[in-house]
């Protein structure tokens, strides 16, 4: 009984450590490769089914304008997204009673321009939208935005420890929610109350709903999808401009924009390296939101129970040297099973736990770190045994 108690205590500690790790935006170098591989397999072989939401991708890469640029070192002109065009589009949405589902406008508004007042004026009429906020790496403070309604700004940065984008931080204690989290809170699920997440050390909590603070996004939309479905802002404005009469205009609005999520961003130049190649930042934010929406990376009581049972069993066998090897190899004489349990038994068992957790609960466990931990336990015991024999 005492042995089981000790094993279950170890399992609880492991779960807490696991939750801490899932909450941080750090990805262990060994894990990053595994996650990349899993992402590639999932994206290219299992093709995550596209969400039912109607999503419109609007590319601003062709809508460049110019503005004056001034800082302590440089001054001159700089290219920015044409805010007059954005304002015209937002006004169009507002004129049709904001019947869109949501607007994710992933355009940086940190440089002032002559069109800012027009943009702010059109934004004052728009509802259900989010705009990006960025943090100055030197001062650790948010960069000044030209947008008046700062309540609509959410973080659109990611922190990486390698070179690729792999994890999306959902909330930062000092700077608030990120765009995917804001969208998840703002877009209510049918017949459900909207979520209001609070930060805690073990994740983000809203009632009985808990999610880790950083997630590995699934790639529902890839660059190929974007290439097929994107439309340029100029094209949209031209299309709107050519439609004459209220009835025709309403018809166009209802068929395209009504009830849809509108993702606006520069899909040509704002690209980030990911496990499946270079993708625009807007797509990463949208995929992160869709991952949350599809209940991936959500802590559930069943997941915790599953971890508890698995970790208790593994801890028990590791602590008491009754490793799975003996049982499995005696039951099944298959060479592969024998090999797996003989050579890398812990890795194999933890990989099974990880795959089951991913398939059933949608959370990618950290098998390699756990393997190292259990190896340390086993190895540590051997070291003590060795010292005891040597000195006594």
């Amino acid at each position: 009984m005492r042995k089981w108690l000790f094993a279950s205590l170890n399992a609880v500690c492991l779960i807490l450590l696991q939750m801490l790790y899932l909450n941080s935006n750090w990805v262990a170098p060994v894990e990053e490769d595994i996650v990349e591989l899993l992402t590639k397999i999932e994206t290219y072989f299992f093709h995550p089914s596209k969400p039912a939401d109607k999503i419109i991708f609007i590319n601003t890469a062709y809508s460049a304008a110019i503005t004056n640029y001034n800082d302590s070192e440089n001054s001159g002109t700089i290219s920015i997204t044409d805010r007059q065009k954005l304002a015209a589009f937002f006004s169009y949405l507002a004129d049709h009673n904001n019947q869109h589902q949501y607007v994710l406008c992933d355009v940086r508004f940190t440089d002032s321009s002559a069109s800012d007042s027009i943009l702010n004026s059109s934004l004052s009429r728009l509802t259900k939208y989010v705009l990006p906020k960025h943090i100055d790496t030197a001062t650790k403070r948010p960069l000044i935005s030209v947008i008046r309604d700062t309540q609509r700004l959410a973080l659109a940065d990611y922190v990486t420890y390698g070179s690729n984008f792999s994890k999306m931080m959902l909330y930062e204690k000092d700077h608030g929610a990120s765009i995917p989290l804001r969208m998840f809170q703002d877009i209510p699920e049918t017949n459900k109350k909207p979520y209001t997440f609070h930060y805690s050390w073990f994740g983000l909590v809203s009632g009985l709903h808990s999610i880790p603070n950083s997630i590995f996004p699934r790639f529902y939309y890839t660059g190929e999808d974007l290439h097929k479905h994107q439309v340029s802002l100029n094209n949209v404005l031209n299309m709107i401009g050519q439609i004459k009469g209220k009835e025709a205009s309403d018809q166009l609005y209802n068929s395209i924009f009504k009830g849809s999520i509108i993702a606006i961003g520069n899909f040509n130049d704002d690209i980030q390296p990911t496990a499946i190649g270079y993708l625009p930042g807007t797509l990463l934010l949208l995929n992160s939101y869709l991952t949350l929406k599809h209940k991936y990376d959500v802590f559930s009581i069943w997941y915790l129970l599953f971890l508890f049972v698995c970790f208790t069993l593994i801890s028990y066998y590791v602590f008491h040297h009754k490793l799975l090897q003996a049982r499995f190899t005696s039951v099944n004489n298959h060479r592969i099973i024998q090999y797996c349990f003989k050579k890398d038994r812990l890795f194999f068992v933890l990989m099974l736990v990880s795959i089951t957790g991913d398939l059933c609960f949608g959370i990618r466990s950290t098998i390699l770190l756990l393997t190292l931990y259990f190896l340390f336990l086993e190895h540590g015991k051997n070291i003590f045994h060795f010292i005891k024999n040597f000195f006594v």
């Binding site: 460049a64 002109t77 355009v107 440089d111 940065d157 994107q230």
Partner: protein
């Protein structure tokens, strides 16, 4: 797993060991560079451990190793604590960097001209600056019974678009309205066009290829955008000068523009 772990530890240890035990010859020294025992280094000296030499402010030392070649050290890259910390950070990837997921609207090219891209997705407004005229080929058979209908075949982003083109006063004319691609994915400003003739006679129909060429297309939206940008960039210049520069730029990019057409697009009057 253990084997992998073992080899990774061995590999790391070997790399670090190899780095420290290699023999380096001092090929040049500028400024004050000393060993750990404070002895100054001079040309011809040997160094066993590069981490144990101190390079003071503004000093530079060049070292040579038979296997790894030359290396240069200066005060910045010999700070022991910094290099060790950097190595550890690199090993565990513990050094983070914050990257923005939004675009301000600028691009890799840097200059504003680089950021102005041709919006090729607006095909309804695809603009060919000028009409193209080709002399109608003389009927080689001198057969007056044969009638010719001319067509163009345009490869538009993988799609092939066939269009009958008008022939007036002995000239085949390709007008801007002939080049409309309904694919929103059209991303090539250079269109491959093949001009051909359908020859109908009493014997039947036949096709003849007259030639192929490339054209450079742009959009009215791009033209407007470009003109507006030039106006902003050349604030101190007169409207005439701006339009003149605009005309020249388009000439360079797309060939001779139709002046009247261009003035209408940007609403310019002399």
């Amino acid at each position: 797993m253990r084997i992998i772990l073992f080899f990774s530890i061995v590999l790391t240890a070997t790399t670090l060991n190899a780095q420290t035990k290699a023999v380096y010859y001092v090929t040049s020294v500028i400024g004050n560079v000393t060993r750990s025992d404070k002895h100054a280094l001079a040309i011809g000296d040997t160094v066993m451990d590069v981490n144990k030499i101190t390079v003071y402010d503004n000093a530079v030392i060049n070292l040579f190793n038979a296997d790894s070649g030359s290396m240069q050290l200066h005060s910045k890259n010999t700070s022991h604590s910094e290099s060790l910390l950097t190595e550890l950070c690199d090993l565990f990837k513990a050094k983070s960097s914050r990257i923005s997921l939004s675009s301000r609207g600028d691009c890799d090219g840097g200059t504003f001209d680089d950021c102005l891209k041709i919006d090729t997705s607006i095909n309804a407004n695809l603009l060919m600056i000028d009409s193209l005229l080709f002399p109608q080929p003389i009927n080689s058979n001198n057969n007056t019974q044969t009638t010719s209908t001319f067509f163009l075949q345009w490869k538009c982003n993988g799609k092939i678009i066939n269009k009958i083109v008008a022939c007036n006063n002995g000239h085949i004319c390709i007008k801007p309205c002939d080049l409309v691609c309904d694919s929103i994915n059209y991303n090539n400003s250079y269109g491959d066009i093949t001009l051909g003739a359908i020859k109908s006679s009493q014997q039947g129909k036949g096709y003849e290829k007259l030639g192929s060429f490339q054209i450079c297309c742009t959009t009215t939206a791009f033209i407007n955008q470009y003109y507006l940008s030039l106006q902003q960039l050349m604030k101190d210049k007169s409207a005439k000068e701006i339009f003149s520069r605009f005309y020249t730029e388009l000439y360079v990019f797309y060939g001779r523009p139709d002046l009247c057409n261009l003035k209408n697009i940007v609403h310019y009057t002399d």
